[in-house]
Symmetry: C2
Subunit: 329 residues, 2 copies
Amino acid sequence: MSEYPPGSEFELIRRHFAPLSVSEEGAYQLDDDAASLSISADKELIVTKDLMIAGVHFISDDSGRTIAQKLLRTNLSDLAAMGAAPRAYALGVALTSNLRTNWLSEFADGLANDQSEYGITLIGGDTIFSSGPLFLSLTAFGEVPKGCAIRRSGAQIGDLVYVTGTVGDSAIGLMAAMGELTKLPDWAKKYLIGRYQIPEPRVKLGKLLVGLASATTDVSDGLIADLGHICSSSNVGAHIDLKDIPLSSAARNACALDSKLIAKVLTGGDDYELLICVPPSVSTKLLNKAESVDVKLSKIGKIVDGSDVSVFSEDKTQLKFEQQGYQHF
Amino acid sequence: MSEYPPGSEFELIRRHFAPLSVSEEGAYQLDDDAASLSISADKELIVTKDLMIAGVHFISDDSGRTIAQKLLRTNLSDLAAMGAAPRAYALGVALTSNLRTNWLSEFADGLANDQSEYGITLIGGDTIFSSGPLFLSLTAFGEVPKGCAIRRSGAQIGDLVYVTGTVGDSAIGLMAAMGELTKLPDWAKKYLIGRYQIPEPRVKLGKLLVGLASATTDVSDGLIADLGHICSSSNVGAHIDLKDIPLSSAARNACALDSKLIAKVLTGGDDYELLICVPPSVSTKLLNKAESVDVKLSKIGKIVDGSDVSVFSEDKTQLKFEQQGYQHF
């Protein structure tokens, strides 16, 4: 149906994808109808799936390498939010004819880089050709001690709420990538766009949260929306102090130029940082664990009786935001 | 971004998809970052993933119900080919604005029907919105006794080659659906189009092949191409007798009107029947197993020394086909 990519689906898989599968025996070098995964008796398998489509989840002229990394990392972030260690993934790719000749090599290169960084292996998938936009699907598998997956539903009144890293970078980075924020210095733009393109899933910390966190989720739809998911699943409310929300220097710079951007920080999403609820009694232990894997952790609020997420300014005024998070539709 | 479907992603999941997840506790009613699957110590998990896109894998005006069934069944067929019993699946849907109002209800209804028919449960996934064609992704999980997954690579010289059901219906059915084959009687068109829209994965038989079949695959790319995959994985060749290829009455009718259609039968694909290789010593046992689950089985050839699939007519002439199977690109 097209000149690109050259060769049959089988040749393409052998060339670009089979080398990514060698460390899982049950991947059968991607040469069978399906793959096989053995799980040891004391573990359970954690399964997550994310779709990405050009123009919605990434910018079409992003390199194959960064697109691959974002695809894998958004799924790794979901595994981390459950406390799971990465194990394997299945990949679906609908290629299009307008891709650069070396796109697939770049894409496989991005996957190879992150496989070795995060300890995960390709075990199977499907490659098709489409006239529509570039479409990607990834199903990731992690492992957690049996019965120990961290849920959104375990938050208790009195728990402290922590967030990893900094939030808002990705949403502001997308604006910068779209040519907005013209007054922002180049170093800040570059940093923020980089955060949008290649998130850093908190895989090392995620595994350490098992038995410690009462509830966890990752910030994908937006800080307020995702904390709201914890609240509705746990039948609790949350209070957040705006002054405690951790911002990068670049995001701080952008917010100083336009104070309305603080709404983007709280509702913009795509951060892939972890929101973590813990009882106050284990907060020191949590901070030590985070330090042991070199992850910055900020206390941003607490779980309260109620059903909503309330954000307070330094003078204790409650702030209102028009949009609670990224709306998928 | 669009009026359809109404409500947020979360409402849509709660309404249409969460009810499909109730029988797997680890699906968490689709209310968490990921799902959890416990696998008993004597089993291994089989993982397969298929993508489907409007205009390539189904006709855009097919009902949501039949599209859902085809999506699930093509994956179930891969599980059957490995000897696996269905367990669970994760679903990715990129919806478009031009879908009928009740499309998603029909789609969920098709999934519900096949979940109960084949014993499989939704455990998670992702729903997004796209301006491109309707795009679907499904990752299916099955279980097989540990170490017993049936591979493509186990065929031995001297094995007999069997195929379930009838082949060619789907490829000829697609031609009928596209308005070709005008001379074909309506009953035959209807039957063949139905076979294209809703394949019948050999799930019951697949499970019974464990410990019996030396190699299995499903006919998705085309009989010759898929048997070719067994041959290349097993380093063997195969001889097929054209007269033994099982045809439905409708396909026989179509081939009588146009003798060139026999090439479609052998190379057309999308049949989702099983190709099964067994040593002659267990062929009776295989036939008994197939009868026990009411599946028709036809011996179509044998595994030989060599590397290719050769097809012979009744007078022992070797036949040549231009296209060995469905080319994905």
